[in-house]
């Protein structure tokens, strides 16, 4: 081996981090090449100097263990729930993360749309505007050039009711997941509260109904909208102002990924899920080999949804993060950008078809980017489960959960306090 060693190989030599065959080759070269030997020595000296310097600096860093412990103990204790807050039920957690995923994707698609202002005008391609007096500060954007987002507008605490539906249930007016996403941008405190669809809530003008049916009731009412009614009912049930609402259809995600031409992800381990539900009570086995894979929209959704966890580090949350990053990469890659901008009207239309909200487009973009910057741990999660409800059955025989106002109030208070 007569070629000089590059810096990476020299570092590997120094750290004795070469496979035996390579090490022999490197050693043979070093025996005959004084230049490489000198470089290796220099590298070793730098490493040694760096180590001693860094430790000398480390020794001088003033420590305050008692103060640190006080803060840690306070937060550690404070985070222990006063009420037994049951963990998110897997289905709801899954629906919630998917909804946030779709919201982020929608934000990015919206961003593209704004980049395409020179493209064809887009009549009604923006989210459906709703008659919402509370959201007068965020009028629905006009097609074409969009209002410039005001960074301060979402600066205070904001609560968004996110209704998730898989598309089929949308026609029946039933929503299969209800989540409240609370975000205080100034303190970067966020929580995600899952509301069971069986929660038996008071609906003005309709008596009592299951939370999952409220959207449908509002849609039937000409003077109202499903989102507006759901927003009012949830706000009254929780005793918390709810400023915005959004209905997200998961099939919108599929359409968007396909419009992006699919996603490339690195699958660390093969996935075999023989019992992936086909949505009709049967199975649609899922099999994805390891390595770099190109996923179309439907496969990407199944990749995100499968419950198979080949390795603790390769769980659903990991895969969903991967997909968010893959979408982000796809959307922001500069060489793809011209093509994407040309496609943006179609992209945005596909997402707008899967998203109904009173948030303005720029709100969604800001939220999506902000939510993207939050780590999963920064978002507290809770569920209005056995902790604050009592199971019951309606005269018609439907299983419902009766809300317990005092417990709900305590839970909300606790969730809000965690950000303090």
């Amino acid at each position: 081996m007569n070629k000089h060693l590059d810096d990476r190989q020299l570092l590997s030599c120094l750290e004795d981090d070469l496979v035996p065959r390579r090490r022999e080759q490197a050693e043979a070269h070093l025996r005959t090449c004084p230049a490489c030997r000198a470089r290796l020595d220099a590298l070793g000296r730098t490493a040694a100097n760096l180590t001693t310097t860094l430790h000398a600096v480390g020794e001088q860093v003033p420590l305050a263990p008692a103060r640190s412990w006080e803060a840690v103990a306070r937060r550690w204790q404070g985070e222990r729930p006063r009420l037994p807050v049951p963990p998110f039920r897997p289905f709801l957690r899954h629906a919630a993360t998917l909804a946030i995923l779709v919201l982020i994707v929608a934000g990015l698609a919206g961003l593209l749309h704004t980049l395409a202002v020179t493209g064809p005008a887009l009549p009604r391609a923006t989210p459906t505007p709703l008659p919402t007096p509370t959201s007068s500060t965020s009028p629905s954007p006009a097609p074409g050039p969009l209002p410039r987002p005001d960074p301060d507008r979402l600066a205070g605490p904001v609560s968004i009711l996110v209704l998730g539906t898989d598309g089929e249930s949308a026609t029946s007016g039933e929503t299969d997941a209800l989540m409240l996403f609370y975000l205080d941008a100034s303190t970067r405190h966020a929580f995600l509260l899952s509301i069971p669809r069986e929660l038996y809530v008071e609906v003005p003008g309709y008596g009592q109904a299951r939370a999952g049916s409220v959207y449908g009731l509002g849609e039937q009412d000409e003077a109202l909208s499903g989102l507006r009614l759901a927003q009012q009912v949830v706000s009254a049930t929780l005793g918390l102002p709810v400023q915005h609402a959004a209905l997200v259809r998961f099939d919108g995600f599929v359409v968007l990924v396909d419009a992006l031409g699919g996603l490339d992800v690195q699958v660390p381990q093969p996935i075999e899920d023989p019992t992936f539900p086909d949505g009709q009570g049967g199975y649609a086995p899922l099999s994805i080999p390891a390595g770099r894979q190109h996923l179309d929209g439907a496969l990407a959704l199944r990749y995100a949804r499968t419950r198979v966890v080949p390795d603790p580090g390769f769980d659903r949350a990991f895969r969903q993060r991967q997909l968010v990053l893959a979408v982000h990469e796809r959307v922001t890659r500069l060489d793809l950008l011209p093509g994407l901008i040309a496609q943006a009207p179609a992209l945005w239309a596909s997402i707008a078809g899967g998203l109904e909200t009173d948030l303005s487009l720029s709100d969604v973009i800001d939220l999506a980017l902000l939510a993207n910057g939050l780590t999963a741990d920064a978002i507290a999660t809770a569920s209005l489960d056995e902790c604050c409800t009592v199971p019951s059955t309606t005269p018609a025989g439907r299983r419902v959960l009766l809300p317990q106002p005092d417990e709900i109030e305590a839970l909300i208070e606790q969730l809000l306090e965690e950000g303090q």
Partner: protein
């Protein structure tokens, strides 16, 4: 011993938790300070790391890493979060467009709030290190101060082993270049020997 403390902490024993904290605080805080070079931020990252560790203690697997290493990986990841949030506190669409869709990669400048007393070569190395680009600088710190392996660094920094190794290599190249220039200018090759003679 440490496993015993961990089990007691999982069970909610505050005395055990404090012992764990106090035993590992110096290494964790020093690493955070080196990475962030700001005392307040380092304190925040350290506290975040311990709160996170205590909440996820059941997930710690002694077969995979020592407890100190596990904590270092966590605190590094907290430092990264902290920097990322400070760097991009809020995107407005306009800023994003002006920035060519890529957020700025530079961390905000911090005035060092600890006065260091270093002499000779150490002073030179430390000063040169400040001029190494942030990602490579952090990689060097994790490697030569934190003592993390490449796979551990990759986990803490959320990138591949190959990427972290490249950052260390690049860090070395940058540092050697800076020190060599320094040596030429100020010490005429006597104070610090870098690289092979031309």
């Amino acid at each position: 011993m440490i496993q015993n403390l961990i089990e007691h902490t999982v069970a909610g024993d505050e005395t055990a938790a404090r012992q764990l904290h106090d035993a590992h605080y110096p290494a964790v805080f020093r690493l955070a300070y080196m990475l962030l070079q700001n005392r307040q931020d380092a304190e925040d990252a350290t506290q975040d790391a311990f709160v996170y560790a205590f909440r996820h203690l059941a997930q710690y697997d002694p077969a995979r890493a020592g407890f100190a290493t596990w904590l270092k990986v966590i605190v590094t990841s907290r430092c990264r979060d902290l920097q990322r949030r400070q760097r991009v506190p809020w995107f407005s669409l306009q800023e994003l467009l002006e920035a060519g869709l890529e957020p700025e990669d530079e961390a905000p400048d911090h005035q060092p709030d600890v006065v260091l007393e270093l002499v000779g070569v150490q002073q030179m190395v430390w000063e040169a290190l400040q001029q190494v680009p942030p990602k490579s600088r952090q990689a060097l710190i994790l490697r030569y101060f934190g003592g993390l392996s490449y796979p551990e660094m990759a986990q803490a920094l959320g990138c591949s082993v190959s990427t972290v190794k490249s950052r260390v290599v690049y860090g070395h190249q940058a540092l050697a270049g800076l020190l060599e220039r320094e040596a030429r200018i100020e010490l005429g090759y006597h104070g610090y020997h870098v690289g092979d003679a031309p």
